[in-house]
């Protein structure tokens, strides 16, 4: 009788834990917008992220953003530099999450052509990796993250880098 009681308590407790875990992974707020200082666009970016719940405390996050160094070119004409960071992150945790992931930055930067010194746009790809921490409430609201996110510039130069983000989940 004693063992049956213990078994029932453990079973109920385990089911209860599972239910909590499942509700953790099914975030009610699956979208977030945030500003990142530093980070994948180097000086700053505005970003949108979509959360995809997995099992237990695991989530996947897909990110796309936009940043720029300047809006005018060196002839003072409107001709913005474009930096588009995209990334995929694995997240583990409830409100306090550990994140890790990788991505690309698509850059289209204005410069002087090395031969004729006229304005030209140059497109390149760079890789990035991320490991960080974030606070993201399942119900939405304040979103904060800090991350070490080294950049492999043009797939050639390893650059230590990092960023801090503040945003809103909904």
């Amino acid at each position: 009788m004693k063992y049956i009681f213990i078994f029932i308590v453990v079973l109920i407790s385990s089911l209860n834990n599972q239910a909590i875990s499942q509700s953790d992974s099914t975030n009610t707020a699956r979208n977030a917008v945030y500003l990142e200082a530093g980070g994948l666009a180097t000086y700053g970016s505005i970003n949108y992220e979509r959360l995809l719940p997995l099992k237990n405390k695991w989530n996947l996050a897909l990110r796309i953003g936009f940043g720029s160094y300047r809006l005018k070119d060196f002839n003072d004409q409107f001709n913005p530099d474009l930096i588009i960071p995209i990334a995929i992150y694995g997240l583990y945790g409830k409100q306090h999450k550990v994140e890790f992931g990788f991505g690309q930055a698509i850059t289209n930067i204005v410069r002087a052509n090395p031969s004729n010194f006229q304005v030209e746009r140059e497109s390149k790809l760079s890789a990035n990796f991320t490991i960080g921490y974030r606070y993201q409430n399942v119900a939405g609201g304040l979103f904060i993250r800090i991350a070490y996110s080294p950049i492999i510039e043009f797939y050639k130069n390893y650059r230590h880098w990092g960023g801090v983000s503040v945003g809103y989940g909904f």
Binding site: Y43, F74, A112, S126
Partner: protein, 272 residues
Amino acid sequence: MKNTIGLIVLLFLFSTCQKKDFDIVNLNGNKITILGHGGMGIANRYPLNTFESIQNCLSIGADGTEIDVQMTKDGVLIAFHSESLDDKTDASGKVYTQTWNAIEDARYVDPIYSNYRILSLDELFSNLSNIGEHTFFLDCKNFDPDTSLTYLNAFSNALIQLIDKHQLVNNIYIELKRRDVIENLKNKRPDLNIFVYTSFDIGLAIADELALQGIVVAVDKISTEEVATAHASGIMVAVFNAHSQSRNIAAIEKNVDFVQTDKLRHLIKMLN
């Protein structure tokens, strides 16, 4: 209360942006020549001395720019500030130990994702627009410890050839620190505008002795009275280290002839 705070903020913004009237008296036709420091200045996202930075400086209305000048091992004058290429680029070694061929593809490492490259002065003057309408202060960095006549002649000849090729005798001011370089260049071409870069007292003495056009001093290391003293001797004054709005205003109030500024847009707004 809200309205009062708003009014205070507006008044503050207005006072910081306000153009002042200055009564300038100097040897430059009572006008201050506005020069960017290495183009758009040290805090700009274009690296100093790049084509992008210099062209941007001219396109927003500066009278001209200061450019750091060094000579490669094979006698090519390039626009670069630091002694070593490791400091800002993906190349390595001291400029004077490298040939132009070895470094012409070097790129600045910052900002990330950019691809701005090192520039020779010949490339610069061949491709800048309307060079005849602008003033260029060539801040010559003679880091090479060589004091031989061969080196001095090579450096002077490279400068002279560049200036003559682009017909810039009246547009270029040469800023030199080493006395041997000054004397060599002055002997070859007395018509060039040469400024000595050192402290005020020493600079004034050298400029007076060698009949130079002027001196270059940090804006915070020279007083209004010292500028007046130099002007009384017929010697012009150029200042650098104008890296804040208050230093721009201090430079103007000192009646200097040329300001090399890192706050270019502010100085243009103040003087135009």
